[in-house]
């Protein structure tokens, strides 16, 4: 079905693009809505026919994977869900992969968010990934969830010295001092790794600026694609690695599936998204080429005239 679907999708899109190429070569303008329709159809076909591609991790993604993999079990990992439902399709899979990997390695997970909209998504990850896939994980010992606090970078500025000043209690109104997971943890600098996921303000950049650099804590951000180029300069000194957009998430999922066979049947959302991504990118590139051919042709016509 997948192969037949791929062929039908590709042939359909190619025929459409050919018609548009001929149309534009005749010097007629193409409505922008035709482009939207093409992107829509190419993505819809790829989703419906479940088109998938193989992924392998690039060094920048592998650095994050290897860091989590090589830390001794029981290491403290802080995972921050600094995103909203709009950003969820591309960064949500990263969060789920990090939860799976950290729990499989036996690390202690500290979940929190600097975005009000991230709180519900954090709970979703706990309920849909952590609890069903790791039923033996004990709240307060293996993982904990801290609620959202307003204040943006102000929150970071406080937790870099003292968690309890900003979080007197966790999500369940339990004092942090009563949770075994917080034994020996005073501030965010006691973490062995910080995994901020998001792409807005405050987000991964602020985690590097306010916690990673001053506290000398390794930071490995998972980024929405739009901000990834802004964070690349921090690699490798200030960010040990990073996951850029759905491509980074897919590479991570692929590596996780390869190294941990128990996750073969887990949902690999990012890997599934790479099919529609690729189809849409092919259409965008085709339109750029058609546009350029059309432009140079019309310029030559003008020169000849």
């Amino acid at each position: 079905m997948t192969n037949i679907g791929s062929i039908i999708s590709i042939v359909g899109v190619l025929i459409g693009l050919l018609i548009i190429l001929i149309y534009s070569l005749k010097g007629r303008d193409i409505d922008r809505r035709v482009i939207f329709l093409f992107i829509f159809l190419s993505v819809a076909f790829a989703i419906l026919f479940n088109i998938e591609f193989k992924e392998s991790p690039t060094p920048i993604v592998r650095a994050v994977f290897d860091k989590i993999e090589n830390m001794p079990p029981g290491s403290r990992v802080l995972l921050s869900f600094d995103y909203d439902p709009a950003m969820k399709p591309e960064v949500g899979p990263m969060a789920n992969s990090f939860v799976r990997h950290c729990m499989a390695k036996g690390h202690k997970l500290y979940l929190m968010t600097l975005w009000a909209t991230g709180h519900a998504l954090m709970i979703e990850s706990i309920e849909e990934v952590l609890k069903p896939e790791f039923p033996d994980a004990v709240y307060g010992t293996d993982y904990t969830s801290l609620s959202f606090k307003a204040g943006g970078v102000g929150v970071l500025n406080v937790i870099v010295t003292d968690f309890q000043k900003m979080y007197p209690t966790d999500d369940n109104n339990t004092e942090l001092s009563e949770l075994p997971i917080f034994e020996g943890v005073k501030s965010a600098t006691n973490m062995d790794l910080i995994l901020p996921i998001g792409g807005g303000f405050p987000g991964p950049k602020e985690w590097i600026l306010f916690i990673g650099d001053p506290g000398n804590v390794p930071v490995a951000p998972g980024l929405a694609a739009v901000v990834a180029p802004q964070i690349y300069p921090y690699y490798p000194k200030q960010a040990i690695g990073l996951l850029g957009g759905v491509k980074g998430a897919a590479e991570y999922e692929s590596e996780l599936r390869q190294r941990y066979p128990q996750f073969q049947d887990s949902e690999a959302t990012a890997l599934k998204m790479m099919g529609p991504q690729t189809m849409a990118h092919i259409v965008v590139m085709a339109f750029i080429i058609i546009g350029n051919i059309s432009y140079f042709r019309s310029r030559r016509k003008n020169i000849d005239a």
Binding site: V43, E90, A116, T117, H119, A150, P233, H281
Partner: protein
């Protein structure tokens, strides 16, 4: 009556029935008809809002405006509620009032008078709404601007200035052990010596030429002009990479929404 809205409502109603049938066929045992109906209604409403937002690509229309206004209103209310429960109930009340702490069932942390300053500044900020006392809000604003600048300056200076300059000082000859070693271990691997050297060279030349482009005290001609032009190319490549990532981000969002429409709503994906 205009035909457009009637057609849209009819289409949404038909799709609601399809969604309902798809949900009824796959519901776990014990789910009541009312629950299935409610679930189908909410998912159809979410799908309607998705389509309403997407309809802006065709042209501006009342459905888009409705979805936009609803989104802004719900977001503002959500932020406000969460801000109240996490900031006032979570942080302020346990430090200023035992009665309020008990009322909201949060552990009392003892009276700390300096915690009264933030709500005072908050009230001062709300004075902006008063036609005559609006000027008082400037004191709170001045405090916010001052503290933000004070907090950010050392962080940015350290991380975005000093550390970034330090990150640019890279060895052009990575792990250099002589020509013999270099040629005998020649590889195009991303983690190999050759690619490492080329990568560092690109960063060094790119940064250097980029700085040349932004140096306007000397005329851009001769060797300086060549460096400047190369700087433009480096900038263009950077903007291109940014654009590529942005396209990827936008397509990801589209994939997310279409997956919702085709799977969660219509149940078309197996």
């Amino acid at each position: 009556m205009r035909k457009g809205p009637v057609i849209v409502v009819a289409v949404v109603a038909v799709l609601f029935i399809i969604s309902l049938i798809s949900r009824m066929s796959g519901v776990p045992e014990g789910t009541s008809t009312f629950e299935s109906l409610a679930s189908a209604f909410w998912v159809t409403f979410a799908a309607f809002l998705t389509l309403a937002v997407m309809s802006f690509l065709y042209k501006d229309n009342p459905f888009y405006k409705f979805a936009e206004h609803l989104y802004v209103g719900v977001s503002a209310a959500y932020w406000m509620c969460l801000g109240f429960w996490t900031t006032l109930v979570g942080n302020l009340f346990p430090r200023v009032s035992e009665t309020l702490s008990n009322w909201f069932e949060v552990p009392y942390a003892g009276f700390h008078p300096h915690y009264l300053i933030p709500p005072a500044l908050g009230i001062i900020l709300l004075m902006r709404l008063s036609p005559k006392g609006g000027w008082i809000s400037r004191w709170a604003l001045a405090f916010i601007v001052g503290t933000t600048a004070g907090l950010n300056l050392p962080r940015f200076l350290r991380s975005d200035f000093i550390s970034q300059i330090s990150s640019t000082f890279m060895p052009l000859f990575v792990q250099w052990q002589g020509f013999g070693h270099f040629f005998s271990n020649l590889s195009l691997s991303a983690s190999g010596q050759l690619v490492g050297m080329l990568s560092n060279l690109v960063i060094f030349v790119g940064v250097f030429c980029g700085i040349i482009y932004f140096y306007f005290s000397k005329e851009h001609k001769g060797a300086f002009g060549v460096g400047s032009r190369f700087g433009i190319w480096i900038l263009m490549v950077t903007f291109g990479a940014s654009f590529g990532y942005t396209v990827m981000g936008r397509i990801s969002l589209l994939v997310g929404r279409l997956t919702f429409l085709l799977d969660d709503w219509l149940g078309l994906i197996q």
